[in-house]
Structure formats: C-alpha cells, structure tokens
Symmetry: C2
Subunit: 199 residues, 2 copies
C-alpha cells in the first residue's frame, strides 16, 4: 500500500497549495453545515469539484482531512492587543472573537463529539484554536499584573479559557441567541472581572 | 399517508411503554457513542432488535426519535438540595452533576450541532435538561438571599447556567480531562462565589 502511494505521488503532480487550501475551506464549510458525522468525502469531492481519489491521495481519510483543515486555521493569532486596561483588553478580545462567533460556534458544535473521541483531531484543534487563545489570555493577565490592576496571579486565571468559551458558546446553546456585544460586556463586568479581582 | 398510519395503528398493537423506553435508551447509548450525524435508524433497529418499520411507526423520524429520547430524560429533577449555605448548595449540586458528567458531556457533545439547527430537538433539550437546572440554580440564589449571604439579586445570577455548564463541559473539551471534584470546588471558590458576591 505504502509503495503504491509513493509511486502514484511520483506519477502525478502534487496538488498546489492554493488548491489544497481551497479544498480545506470547502471541508470546513460542509462541516459547519452538516456536522462531523454527516460530512463525507463524497460531499467534499462534489462541492470541491474533484475526484475522491484525489482527496484520499492528499489526506488519507476524513479524520485526517478535517484535522488538516482545523490545523490550517489560526484565527486567534490575529486577535487581542493592549487596550491600556484589563477591562479594555477583555472587551477588545471579545469584540474580535464576537465578530466571528457564529462561524466558530458552529464549527465547535460540529466538532464537539469527534474531539472527545479522536485524539489527533483534538490535538490539531488544541494547537490551532486553543493554545493561541490561552496565550493571549495569559498575556492579558500578565499586563494587568504589571499595571497593578491585579495584585497577584489570581486563582481564576486558570479558568479564563473556559470562561471565554462559555461566554461565546453557551448562549447559542442555551437560548438559541448569539452572544452579542451587550451580553459579552455584562459577562466581563459581572463574572470575569470579579473573579480575577478576588483573591 | 395519515390515514394509512391510522389504519396501521389500529391493525397492530402499540408498543408497550417499557419497550418504547428501552428503545429510547438504546438511542441515547448509540448517540453518545457515534454522535448525532452517524446515528441511523438501522443502528437503532439492529441494537434494539426490532424492525425499522416499528421504529418509524412509533417515532416518525430520527429527529423525532432523538427528541423523544431527550425529552424522556429528567436528570436535573433529582439534583440539588439545601445544604445550609450558598457554597454548600453549589458543591452539592456539582457533586451530583459531576458524578454523571462523563455521560452528560458526551451526550451534549453528540447533540451540540443538531441543537443549533433543529428547533424541535433544541426545545426538547431545553425543557428536559436546561430548565430544571436553571430552576435549581435560581433556587440556590433565592436561598442565599434569604440567608443574607447575598445582599441582592446579583448580576452574575443570569450567567449561572452557562457557568455550571462551562465547568462541566469545558475541561473535557480543552484538556481531555474529566471535571473532577477538586477542579469543580476550585471553580466554585475562584469563579462562581466571587462573581455572585460582587455587586
């Protein structure tokens, strides 16, 4: 099997990076629409206008293709920034995350069950979605400590990624409503700041 | 179609309630294992040792069958209780919810995407899983106000269901770890109590 794959890679030109990235975007679009379980290579091939053989040659399996699509995402790299205060930093982060919350929430929902059962997919998701967010949040706490807005590393800091996630994901889940700017600002003022400031 | 359904219901005996409840349990088991998208009536029929026709006659569609299975759950009816203090009430609730967190977390993950797109399923889930939990949490806040542990209805009270959900669901999602008793106790002390007590 392996030798055959090598020979076929030699015989045919590899997919261009642009084309590969296009097919990964198609994969994410379908994923958001139908969820992981109903996503099929047939759907990807038909929407992406290519053969299933091409897709299997490039990515090997549905699980690997979805992991590659998730790994290609780096949304949290472009968020965050120093707004001059702890509250300002949190609101800025939520403003940026909130603006694409619908897309991210649907993708998280689509992947949720698969992430609990597929370790490779979970790893890809952790590296591309969670770690950048975790680092950004650690930076926000660091800056607040330097500004002496927080006296010491607060116990609640370890829960910040969960809290941010909860703010964005829980409302659509519980109420069928998007977490809008007012909701997120209240969450910052009533939950995150009191939790961080307590120690 | 409707007349035919009526005639066939007359011709054949209805399923006994015990048998129906058994098949709904089978549905939830498969749901937790494979997720909503990969759950099929074939799988339910084969695991439940009955014909697909029987299932369709009883529930009409996969979506309706899953909604019925979810509606039959009333787990939060049996949780909660007055432990004498706000902290005690929250720890008691988490102890009860935590003991079956694996099962609930997997089911929530399996349903997450479908809940965003299927209004009837979302309604069944809201009525059987969310509303009882919301009422229990409102009761905890009421009791704390009567005990004068909380001065007034705190702004964070509206976020309590999201926070409880976040504590239970976020850790498996982020770290692949179950939210154990230590983790939940820290979450109560570092996040929920400071948020409620602030006003």
């Amino acid at each position: 099997m392996h030798e055959q794959a090598v020979r076929s890679a030699v015989r045919r030109p590899r997919m261009t990076p642009d084309r590969a990235s296009e097919l990964l975007d198609v994969t994410l679009d379908i994923l958001r629409e139908v969820g992981y379980g109903s996503l099929s290579m047939d759907l990807i091939a038909s929407r992406g206008r290519c053969s299933k053989a091409t897709i299997y040659r490039q990515w090997g399996s549905k699980a690997q293709m979805v992991a590659a699509a998730v790994a290609a995402l780096r949304p949290a790299d472009s968020v965050g920034g120093d707004a001059g205060s702890l509250r300002g930093d949190l609101l800025l982060l939520f403003e940026q995350l909130g603006s694409r919350a619908d897309k991210d929430t649907t993708m998280i929902a689509a992947l949720h069950h698969a992430l609990l059962t597929d370790a490779k997919l979970a790893e890809a998701f952790r590296v591309s979605m969670l770690e950048p967010a975790r680092e950004e949040l650690a930076g926000i706490v660091e800056r607040a400590m330097r500004r002496q807005e927080l006296p010491d590393r607060p116990g609640a800091a370890q829960f910040l990624p969960s809290l941010v996630w909860s703010a964005l994901v829980a409302r659509p889940f519980f109420e069928g409503l998007t977490a809008d700017a007012d909701y997120l600002e209240q969450f910052v003022d009533d939950v995150i700041l009191p939790a961080l400031q307590h120690s």
